[in-house]
């Protein structure tokens, strides 16, 4: 390396004024094309129903000038900042502090979650939000088995959620079975449907698998809507029993839990109880998933994601391995569905649209495929963030979209972008997910 090299690099990195102007001009042109219809022309229905429109050239000009100026500004900022790299942005001592924080975040988050009902006891809204977030954490962890570990892209996860919810709703309203009896049944039924879905799609991979699972989600929803005699169709099922504290109802009556404990009845008791039920269910999902990862079946799932052909060459039955992944993920979805039904007391097909599947999948992808902590953080950000921006009303989706785009630029592999080995000899070192496969099947 000679002394002149840095100057050379410096010189090659600084584009001239002409370059910046050219770039800004192109951006402005694109903006003009896009906004001429979106902003330039305003259409409305006239008083007699005919279409009237008028132009807003002032707004359009302002928009284009903003883009032009912004483009120049961004380019100048980029030059001032220099090349982007983690080393430059985050100094080593901060990085080591971050590593420490990373290790501490999971236990701290868990302790905080346990204390939420104590801290926010009189804030019903926060408790409800907490229950909602935990439901999605559980769904995310469930789907993570299928998508994150086994690498099978499932766009119809909501189907199992629906199966679980309707299992509990119908079993309890028709046969009077209690929540705690129905919970495992809902899981088993959902797992059964998971296997049923798994069979026809075993030969499909990637995009094709995604399309079929998407269709499966829709089929389940349409069947629920149209099978009026069993499911009540679009009217849904109402009057679903609330969960009892292992047989003791949470009601104001003499046989209620409050009366038995000799404390004053409050409707919050039920909310707090529900909070701890979903927390326990979510933690069960997490515990089972972590355990499964260290068992041969979990390793086979991950191997399947990495290379299916190699799996077959090693004598792994890829059929049953895929089916168990579908069944396990579906089972957790079923548990979450049963919980959803008991919490709402009313379910209808509207709760199980494709949007739910997309949201859960977004949580898994955003969290970093296969990462338990990442999924939990992503659920918190997605669901909590959604609520946070409720005040912004119509800009909520916009802000959210921008946040997603930024995250995908900075952390394309999700919030937690590495996987921890399931077994190690001396020290467990994280593996960058650049190396890990995303799965094709």
């Amino acid at each position: 390396m000679t002394a002149t090299t840095p100057d050379l690099v410096q010189a090659s990195r600084l584009p001239g004024v002409a370059f910046i102007f050219k770039k800004a001009l192109i951006s402005a042109l694109v903006a003009l094309l896009l906004f001429s219809l979106m902003i330039g022309i305003r259409t409305e229905a006239g008083p007699t129903g005919q279409l009237i429109y008028w132009t807003r050239s002032g707004d359009l000009a302002a928009m284009v000038v903003t883009v032009f100026g912004g483009s120049i500004l961004v380019e100048l900022l980029r030059q001032w900042w220099g090349p982007v790299g983690t080393v430059r942005i985050v100094p080593p001592n901060v990085q080591s502090a971050l590593a420490l924080a990373r290790r501490a975040i999971a236990p701290l988050l868990l302790i905080f979650t346990f204390l939420v009902p104590v801290i926010f006891y009189d804030q019903r809204y926060i408790l409800d939000l907490g229950i909602l977030v935990l439901t999605y954490v559980m769904l995310g962890w469930g789907l993570n088995v299928v998508v994150g570990l086994a690498g099978l892209l499932d766009l119809g996860y909501v189907a199992f959620y629906a199966v679980g919810a309707y299992s509990y709703a119908l079993l309890s309203t028709n046969f009077g079975l209690s929540f705690w009896v129905c919970l495992p049944l809902a899981g088993i039924l959902a797992a059964f449907w998971g296997v049923l879905l798994g069979f026809p799609v075993l030969r499909l991979r990637g995009d094709y698998l995604a399309i079929v699972t998407l269709a499966f989600g829709e089929i389940i929803r349409l069947v629920i809507i149209n099978w009026q005699s069993l499911t009540g169709g679009p009217n849904g099922v109402s009057g679903i029993p609330r969960p009892s504290f292992f047989g003791i109802p949470l009601t104001p009556g003499d046989d209620g839990l409050a009366a038995k404990l000799g404390i004053e009845f409050s409707p919050t008791h039920r909310i707090v109880f529900l909070f701890y039920v979903i927390l326990a269910l979510a933690l069960l999902t997490n515990w089972v998933t972590i355990r499964l990862r260290r068992l041969p079946i979990g390793r086979a799932w991950e191997a399947l994601r990495e290379d299916e052909v190699a799996c077959r060459a090693l004598g792994i039955n890829t059929t049953t391995t895929k089916l168990t992944a579908f069944a396990t993920g579906a089972m957790f979805g079923g548990f979450a569905g049963a919980f959803f039904a008991t919490r709402q007391g009313f379910i209808s097909p509207e709760s199980f649209t494709f949007q739910e599947s997309a949201l859960v999948l977004a949580i898994v992808v955003l969290g970093g495929m296969g990462s338990q902590l990442g999924v939990a953080l992503a659920a918190l950000t997605m669901i909590g963030g959604f609520e946070l921006f409720r005040g912004f009303d119509q800009y909520r989706m916009l802000v959210f979209g921008v946040a997603m785009v930024l995250l995908m630029i900075w952390r394309p592999r999700g919030l937690i972008g590495h996987r921890a080995p399931t077994v190690f000899l001396r020290h467990s070192q994280a593996i960058s997910s650049e190396l890990a496969g995303e799965g094709r099947g």
């Binding site: 089972v288 355990r291 499964l292 068992l295 041969p296 079946i297 390793r299 086979a300 991950e302 191997a303 990495e306 290379d307 052909v309 190699a310 799996c311 077959r312 060459a313 090693l314 004598g315 792994i316 039955n317 890829t318 168990t324 996987r419 080995p421 399931t422 077994v423 190690f424 000899l425 001396r426 020290h427 467990s428 070192q429 593996i431 960058s432 997910s433 190396l435 890990a436 496969g437």
Partner: protein, 278 residues
């Protein structure tokens, strides 16, 4: 057909539409011996491998694998994973197929899947952490550690397989195949892309596998130094047919083999073709 052969391939034919990749091929691989399958590019060697390991279903012909205890299995009747699981045939791939996002140790653990699956009581015993499962897992880790030590990768056991140098990945893939405890090990160009020193180490590894584990080896190889040094028997293919077989020394001097590899003068083509029966 004799009792010493572990694998006998009989009249194997594989057609892809109009293309005959393997045409009426018969050969035998002897027990505890290293059999090499050589031939120019496109001769159909990998197709033979894919038939033996169940990735292709042969158009016609039989492949019989005879175990030490006299139990014999018709490979063409089993499909994909059962060949590895029941017939105990393991393979490696021409383009390495490790699990790049998993550590070297994990790769070797995945290879012991079927044994571990039974030990974990189809997951249920493992889920509750039964002592029998813990013992089995420890045993599997020990076995993986022994293989890592043997291929010189023990210091890198916890590194991602995708991060290992090319030569190490080749050896790791062989170790992974050996972790399935195969009777027959099929290696598809194990020396491809290795330098002279690495090739020599590979030859040593294969000889030691044959000596210590008693595994029979069938290999496809272009590196003639490896083939000539370690093979007990060589089968030469060209255009889907067997053109010669014998000891490495026989093969080296066979005019048909030389013709297939180096080509012949234009005026000799007809003579050579009639000799080959083409």
């Amino acid at each position: 057909m004799n009792e010493t052969s572990i694998l006998s391939v009989d009249h194997l034919t594989m057609r892809f539409g109009g293309v005959v990749a393997v045409n009426d091929l018969s050969f035998e691989a002897e027990r505890r011996k290293i059999t090499a399958l050589i031939g120019p590019n496109g001769a159909g060697k990998t197709t033979v491998f894919n038939c033996i390991t169940g990735f292709y279903k042969p158009t016609s012909g039989t492949m019989r694998l005879t175990h030490d205890d006299g139990r014999s299995i018709q490979l063409e009747r089993l499909n994909d994973f059962r060949i590895s699981k029941q017939a105990k045939v393991a393979r490696t791939f021409q383009n390495i197929r490790l699990f790049p996002g998993m550590t070297a140790l994990e790769n070797l653990m995945v290879a012991q899947h079927n044994a571990l699956m039974l030990a974990s009581g189809l997951t249920f015993l493992g889920l509750i952490g039964a002592p029998s499962w813990r013992a089995a897992e420890k045993h599997a880790i020990d076995q993986a550690t022994r293989w890592l030590d043997r291929i010189g990768l023990l210091p890198r056991a916890d590194d991602a397989a995708g991060n290992l140098p090319y030569g190490d990945q080749r050896r790791l893939e062989i170790a992974r195949a050996m972790c399935t405890e195969p009777a027959l090990l099929c290696l598809d160009e194990p020396a491809a892309g290795l330098n002279t020193r690495e090739s020599a180490a590979l030859s040593e590894l294969l000889l030691s596998i044959r000596a210590d584990q008693g595994t029979s080896i069938l290999l496809i190889e272009h590196d003639m130094s490896v083939v000539m040094e370690i093979s007990d028997h060589v089968v030469v293919m060209d255009y889907g047919v067997k053109i010669a077989e014998g000891t490495p020394q026989d093969i080296r001097d066979d005019p048909k083999v030389i013709a297939a590899y180096l080509g012949v003068e234009d005026n000799e083509v007809a003579a050579v073709e009639s000799e080959l029966g083409l």
